[in-house]
């Protein structure tokens, strides 16, 4: 991907954000900024605090300390619906549809309550366009509960897009998909990014992260241990250690040292 996409204007600024659940420090002193138009990968081993970080940015949990600034205003204390209306949309690791409603109604909800659609008819037109875009145009009248997993993930994306987001936080949209489904999902995420939506993508599959991200943030035990250019980050000894353990990292270092 080219690096010239970001316009450079800071959209989201997270400063020294922490969250403790009782004695467990889930997120510790995390700071980063997000510029308009960027695609940033957020990686880290299981339990590193990635989803908690997303929950802090979208107001699901109140932060223990630190601030979140979005387009110049402090939004640390916001509630999820306020985040949605401001233009911070997210998808869930475990999809969260309105199961008994139709696919169309699910997306209409996004357009009506967060996307600023003036009335139901406008919301339905917008929703149809988003559903066509994600490839669910033929299934709009089915109940959301009847969709297959890949289609539900697409529904989540359509719902998020209907909210007209400035920032889209994708929490493992590819989890549970097979290889060809992942390729389709990747194409879709690229198409969304091409519309100018700033994206944070949480992902376990390095292939996906490396092919999409302009920049990568690495969380480990709730701390931001590395960030920057994707290839620098994956070669960072701290990151290798976090993923593969200290012994393996040590051996890597020795190998690097003995190499001519």
């Amino acid at each position: 991907m080219n690096d010239s996409r970001g316009s450079g204007e800071v959209l989201l600024k997270v400063e020294r954000l922490s969250k403790a659940f009782g004695g467990i420090q889930a997120v510790r002193d995390v700071s980063f900024t997000l510029s308009e138009g960027e695609i940033v990968g957020l990686i880290g081993p299981n339990g590193a605090g990635k989803t908690t970080l997303v929950n802090l940015v979208t107001g699901v949990f109140p932060a223990s300390s630190g601030t979140v600034v979005f387009r110049g205003s402090d939004i640390t204390r916001q509630r999820p619906f306020q985040a949605a209306r401001r233009g911070i949309a997210r998808t869930f690791q475990i999809v969260q549809p309105f199961p008994a409603m139709t696919v169309l109604e699910n997306v209409v909800a996004g357009a009506l309550f967060a996307g600023g659609a003036a009335d139901r008819a406008t919301a339905e037109n917008e929703a149809m366009a988003h559903l066509e875009f994600v490839g669910l145009g033929a299934e709009v009248l089915r109940p959301a509960a009847s969709l297959t997993l890949p289609s539900r993930k697409r529904l989540e994306l359509a719902k998020s897009l209907a909210m007209k987001p400035k920032v889209l936080l994708l929490d493992e949209v590819n989890a549970g998909l097979n290889t060809s489904e992942i390729d389709q999902a990747l194409a879709l995420i690229r198409a969304i990014a091409a519309r100018g939506v700033t994206i944070i993508i949480i992902e376990h599959l390095m292939k996906v992260v490396l092919s999409l991200s302009q920049r990568i943030l690495v969380l480990h035990h709730g701390e931001l241990i590395s960030s920057g250019d994707p290839h620098d980050v994956v070669n960072d000894p701290k990151v290798i250690e976090a993923y593969l353990g200290s012994k393996f990292a040590e051996r890597q270092k020795q190998l690097a040292g003995t190499a001519p």
Binding site: P80, F81, P97
Partner: protein, 310 residues
Amino acid sequence: MKARLPYILFAIWVLALAATPWVASNYIVKIATFLAMYGAIALSWNFIGGFTGYPSFATAAFVGLGAYSGALLQNAGMSGAWLPLAWLSGALIVALFSALIGLIILRMKGHYFAIGSIAIVEVLSQLASSWSSLTGGGEGLNVKFLAGGPDFIGRVFLYTMLVIMLMAFVATLLVDRGRLGFGLRCIQQNEDAADMVGIDVTRYKIYAFVLSAVFCGAVGAAYSSWVAYISPTDSFSILLTLKAPVMVLLGGPGTVFGPIVGSALFVLMEETIWAKFLDYHQAVLGVVIVLLIFFLPGGLLRLRFKKGAA
């Protein structure tokens, strides 16, 4: 044309109830009044229990508080021509009360909310029993009789209850077609997702809770004038609190006409079949609840829709 049919049937139903004083005995007028009253109560419960999916057992708290507020205001001078003002004030007091209580108990979900809502009934009932200086305590409270013969009084309260039911119905229509109803259905389906999609869930739930209370308050206040004597056990009746959801579940929760159909069937069953089982009628209620849960989880109206769709 097909979509209009339920509205036409509903209009005929309302006109039939309204016509009873002119064509039928006072006993039938009394049943018509109960039909309107329970129609309003079922429509009320539908806002919180049907649209929003919060199993409220607070109905009796709203009816009882409305009854006591209305009765005390009437005894303080809001009687005669001022009576409608007493009923309106009772409804407003209940609306305010439900908004404040809603702020607290709507933080709970599922079983916890159900228990919390039933506790409100108990607390208010205890309060009415022990605050003797104001409420007359366990001995109850006499309310000034409305002047006029039994025919006139019968008509007044039939039309009062009908008007309350129609107001609850119009409110239901507006909610059902509007943004609020759509948002409440989203909350019923998945509250976290509703929050994430930009719905102010706390505010919407409070709206639904107040809507479920205000018409019950009006019913309670009018009821106190009708029977002219209220007591804590009669006003804050646990049985009433159970009847409301059963009626709506019988008809179809979250639908516009379900509460009307369900409450009408329930009242008619109560008057015809259960009157023959005086000793067992609460047991029969239990059997109806169990049968509903097993065979009609979506109510009678949903049953018909399902057949139509298949």
